[in-house]
C-alpha cells in the first residue's frame, strides 16, 4: 500500500502539544487510521500524556484512559475484561506506551497481560529514551548514546524487547519504524483482526532527544533500518517474517549501510566523531549489529 492510499479518516485532531517532527504523533495518526473510532486507548505517563493536550481539551478523538507509568498493560486487561462481559468484541483495546513504560517500569505488567492472554494491542513507540522527563536513559537506549543520565554515552547495549515478547508466544509480534508509515499502518491493521495479545513496537526517532533536525524524522527512521540498527519483522504464531529492507538485508540481497551513516546525523552520538573518531566504540556498535543479524538469520534458518 502506498501512502496516498491510506484512509483519509483522522482521529488525531488539531491542538496537540507535540514537538514539531514528533514521531509519536506521526505513528498515532497511522494507528488511528488503521483502527478507526471503535477503540479504547490506555496511555501511561510518557510524551503522549502531553501530546494529548491539556484538560479540558484533547487532540484525540477516541476514548482514552490515562494511567500510571507502569500500569498500561494491567489497566488494558481490565478494560478488555469489562468489554468481554458486555459482549463488545467490536472495540479494540490499545495500550500505547513509550519505551520506558514498556522495557523498564511497565515490563512486569506487560508480561502478565501477555501471559494471561489479554485481548489487546500493546504498542510501544520507542524513542529510545525517557523523553517526557527530559531525555534520560532507558533499557532501550543504544550503546554509546548520550542522554542526561549517560553523559559520556551509555555503557550498556539495549535489551531486545522483541525477543522478550516473543518468549511469551503470543499470536502477533511486530517491529516497525515510523520511517515507513505504510508498514506501521499495515501491521496495526493486521493486529486488529487477531484475537489475543498483540505487540507492535515502532521505532520513533525523536528530534530533541536524538539531536537531529525536526524535518528528518522519517529519514532517521529509514536509515536505522537500512543500517541494520533496527529491523522490521513480524511474528505470527511463532513464525517470523522480515519485511521491507530488513528482508533484503537478511537474505543478503542488500548490504546494510555502515551504522555510522545513521549515527553521524545524531547529536547524541557526536562524541563518537568529535573531537576525534572513537574507533573502539564505533567497532563495538558495528559488531553488536552483526551479532544481532546473525541471530536473526538463525531464527529463519539461514544461519545455524
Amino acid at each position: 500500500m502506498a501512502i496516498k492510499d491510506l484512509p483519509l479518516e483522522e482521529h488525531y485532531i488539531p491542538g496537540s502539544a507535540a514537538c514539531p517532527g514528533c514521531p509519536a504523533s506521526m505513528a498515532l495518526r497511522m494507528v488511528f487510521k488503521a483502527i478507526g473510532k471503535k477503540m479504547i486507548m490506555v496511555v501511561p505517563a510518557c510524551c503522549t500524556s502531553v501530546i494529548e493536550s491539556l484538560h479540558p481539551y484533547t487532540s484525540f478523538d477516541i476514548p482514552l484512559l490515562n494511567i500510571a507509568f507502569e500500569a498500561a498493560a494491567a489497566a488494558s486487561s481490565g478494560v478488555a475484561a469489562a468489554l468481554e462481559t458486555m459482549g463488545r468484541d467490536d472495540i479494540t483495546v490499545v495500550a500505547w506506551a513509550g519505551d520506558g513504560g514498556t522495557y523498564d517500569i511497565g515490563l512486569q505488567a506487560l508480561s502478565g497481560a501477555f501471559e494471561r492472554g489479554t485481548n489487546f494491542i500493546y504498542i510501544c513507540y520507542n524513542n529510545q529514551i525517557y523523553s517526557n522527563t527530559g531525555i534520560q536513559r532507558s533499557g532501550a537506549t543504544p550503546y554509546a548514546a548520550w542522554t542526561t543520565t549517560t553523559v559520556g554515552g551509555k555503557t550498556e547495549f539495549r535489551k531486545e524487547m522483541g525477543e522478550i515478547v516473543q518468549a511469551h508466544h503470543i499470536p502477533y509480534v511486530a517491529q516497525t519504524s515510523i520511517g515507513y508509515p505504510e508498514d506501521v499502518y499495515r501491521k496495526v491493521k493486521k493486529a486488529k483482526e487477531i484475537k489475543g495479545p498483540k505487540y507492535i513496537e515502532i521505532l520513533a526517532p525523536c528530534p530533541p532527544g536524538w539531536r537531529f533536525d525536526m524535518s528528518k524524522t522519517a529519514e532517521m527512521g529509514k536509515l536505522a533500518v537500512e543500517t541494520g540498527a533496527w529491523a522490521l519483522y513480524e511474528v505470527e504464531n511463532d513464525k517470523i517474517t522480515f519485511n521491507g529492507k530488513s528482508k533484503l538485508i537478511l537474505e543478503g540481497k542488500m548490504k546494510r549501510k555502515p551504522v555510522e551513516d545513521w549515527l553521524k546525523l545524531q547529536g547524541r552520538f557526536r562524541h563518537l566523531f568529535v573531537p576525534e573518531r572513537d574507533e573502539k566504540r564505533l567497532k563495538e556498535i558495528e559488531d553488536h549489529i552483526d551479532m544481532l543479524w546473525r541471530r536473526y538469520r538463525s531464527w529463519v534458518g539461514i544461519e545455524k
Partner: protein
C-alpha cells in the same frame, strides 16, 4: 433468607458475587487468599458470571480494576497488608478517577519481620488516598457492608471507591453464622451501576490528561464534598438495610451502652466486638462504661464524636500506630474534638503484630484509666 456458616473471607466472596460484579481482579496474599479462592470457585461453578482476572501483582490488580471500572461496570477486589501497600499509587488513581470500586482489605501486619496476624497499619497508611474506609467486626457485618458499599460507592453524588477492612484470622479465618438475603432482594437493593462517566466509543473523552492547578483544586474539593455527602448517605443506607433485613451494625459508629456512660471506649474492628463483653462485665461492677466502635474512618464521623463527648471521657484503643505521633484513631478523635469539647482522651496502643486483645485485656485497660493511673499514651502489654 438462609444461614451460611463460614469464614469472613468466604462470606466476603459470597457477598461479592451476589453483588454481580462484571470484573474481579486480584492477587493472592495471606490472609486474603481464601477470599480469591472463593471467587475462583464461584467462577468455576458458574455462580459468578463476570470475568476473573488473575493478575501478576496487586499493583496490576488495582490497575485492572480501574480499567474495568472506567468502562462503567461494577468491579470488586480484595487484598491485605503488603498487597495493599503495593497498590498505594493506584488507590489514589482510583479515587481521583471517582471510580466506585469495592475492595475488602484484610488488616495484617506490615513487615519486616514477616508476620501475618492482625494489625491496622496497612490500611491506616492509605487514609489519605480518598477511599471511604469501613472497619467491621463480624462476618455478618462483612456481608452486609460489602452489599451496602456498592450502593454507597455508586451513588452519583459519591462515586468513590470503598475499602472494607477486617482483621486477619480473627475474622478472615473464623467461621460464624451469617444471614444471606435472597438474590432478588440484593438485586433490588443495588440495581445495575449507572456510571457518572465512562470510556465510550460513541462519546469519546480523554480522561486524566494534564490538568492545571485551578481545575485540580476543584477535583479535590469535589472529592471532599463527596465524602461529606457520604457521611449522611451511609447512615441512610444502614437504616434502609435495617428496615429491609432487620440487621444493623451502627451507622458511622456502632454505639453500645453510651447513654449514661462516664467513659466511652473508642476503637475499630475486632477489638470493638471484644469491647462489648468488657463493657458488660465492667457495668456489672458498677462502672459506667460505653462503647463507640468506629465503623467508618473515612469520612471521619466528626459530629458524632463531638456529640458522644458531651457526657463522657474517651478511652481510645488503636491497633495501629502513626510512628512519631501515636494511634491514628486517637489523633483523629482529638482533632474532631478540638474547639468543640473539653473531654479527656486516654489513648492505648494495643494488639500490634497480631497480639491478642481479649475482653479481659480491655477491662484491665479501662480499670487503669478509671483508677487514674493513665496519663497520656500507654502501650498495653508492654508497660509492666
Amino acid at each position: 433468607m438462609k444461614v451460611m456458616i463460614d469464614t469472613g473471607n468466604y462470606i466476603a466472596a459470597k457477598a461479592a458475587i451476589m453483588a454481580k460484579p462484571n470484573v474481579v481482579a486480584a492477587y493472592p496474599i495471606t490472609p486474603q487468599t481464601t477470599l480469591v479462592e472463593g471467587i475462583a470457585k464461584y467462577k468455576e461453578t458458574g455462580e459468578f458470571k463476570g470475568e476473573y482476572i488473575c493478575v501478576e501483582s496487586e499493583h496490576s490488580a488495582m490497575s485492572a480494576c480501574i480499567g474495568a471500572s472506567a468502562t462503567g461496570v461494577r468491579v470488586f477486589t480484595g487484598t491485605s497488608s503488603h498487597g495493599l501497600l503495593l497498590m498505594h499509587e493506584m488507590l489514589h488513581w482510583a479515587a481521583l478517577s471517582r471510580l466506585p470500586i469495592v475492595m475488602c482489605n484484610i488488616n495484617r501486619v506490615v513487615g519486616p519481620g514477616w508476620n501475618i496476624w492482625a494489625d491496622e497499619n496497612d490500611s491506616i497508611a492509605q487514609r489519605d488516598t480518598g477511599w471511604i474506609q469501613f472497619y467491621v467486626s463480624s462476618n455478618q457485618e462483612i456481608f452486609d457492608t460489602v452489599i451496602q458499599a456498592f450502593k454507597i460507592a455508586e451513588h452519583e453524588k459519591i462515586s468513590l471507591p470503598i475499602m472494607i477492612n477486617y482483621n486477619a484470622f480473627i475474622l478472615s479465618h473464623t467461621s460464624m453464622p451469617v444471614y444471606i438475603p435472597e438474590q432478588e432482594e440484593i438485586d433490588e437493593f443495588i440495581p445495575k451501576r449507572k456510571p457518572t462517566w465512562k470510556l465510550d466509543v460513541d462519546n469519546p473523552i480523554t480522561f486524566g490528561n494534564i490538568i492545571l492547578p485551578d481545575a485540580y483544586i476543584e477535583v479535590r474539593r469535589d472529592m471532599q464534598r463527596a465524602q461529606d455527602y457520604a457521611r449522611n448517605y451511609i447512615k441512610k443506607v444502614a437504616e434502609e438495610w435495617r428496615e429491609k433485613f432487620g440487621r444493623y451494625h451502627g451507622d458511622l459508629i456502632d454505639r453500645y451502652r453510651c447513654d449514661d456512660a462516664e467513659y466511652i471506649i473508642l476503637t475499630m474492628g475486632a477489638i470493638g466486638a471484644e469491647s462489648r463483653i468488657a463493657v458488660d462485665n465492667l457495668r456489672e461492677d458498677g462502672l459506667k462504661i460505653g462503647l463507640a466502635r468506629v465503623r467508618v474512618f473515612r469520612p471521619f464521623p466528626k459530629e458524632d464524636i463531638v456529640e458522644l463527648s458531651k457526657k463522657a471521657d474517651f478511652i481510645v484503643i488503636d491497633r495501629n500506630i502513626s510512628v512519631g505521633m501515636g494511634g491514628a484513631l486517637s489523633a483523629e478523635v482529638k482533632s474532631a474534638l478540638y474547639g468543640n469539647s473539653d473531654t479527656k482522651v486516654y489513648s492505648y496502643i494495643a494488639g500490634l503484630g497480631g497480639k491478642d486483645v481479649t475482653f479481659k485485656d480491655i477491662e484491665k485497660m479501662i480499670r487503669k484509666v478509671v483508677d487514674g493511673k493513665v496519663k497520656t499514651l500507654e502501650w498495653y502489654s508492654l508497660e509492666e
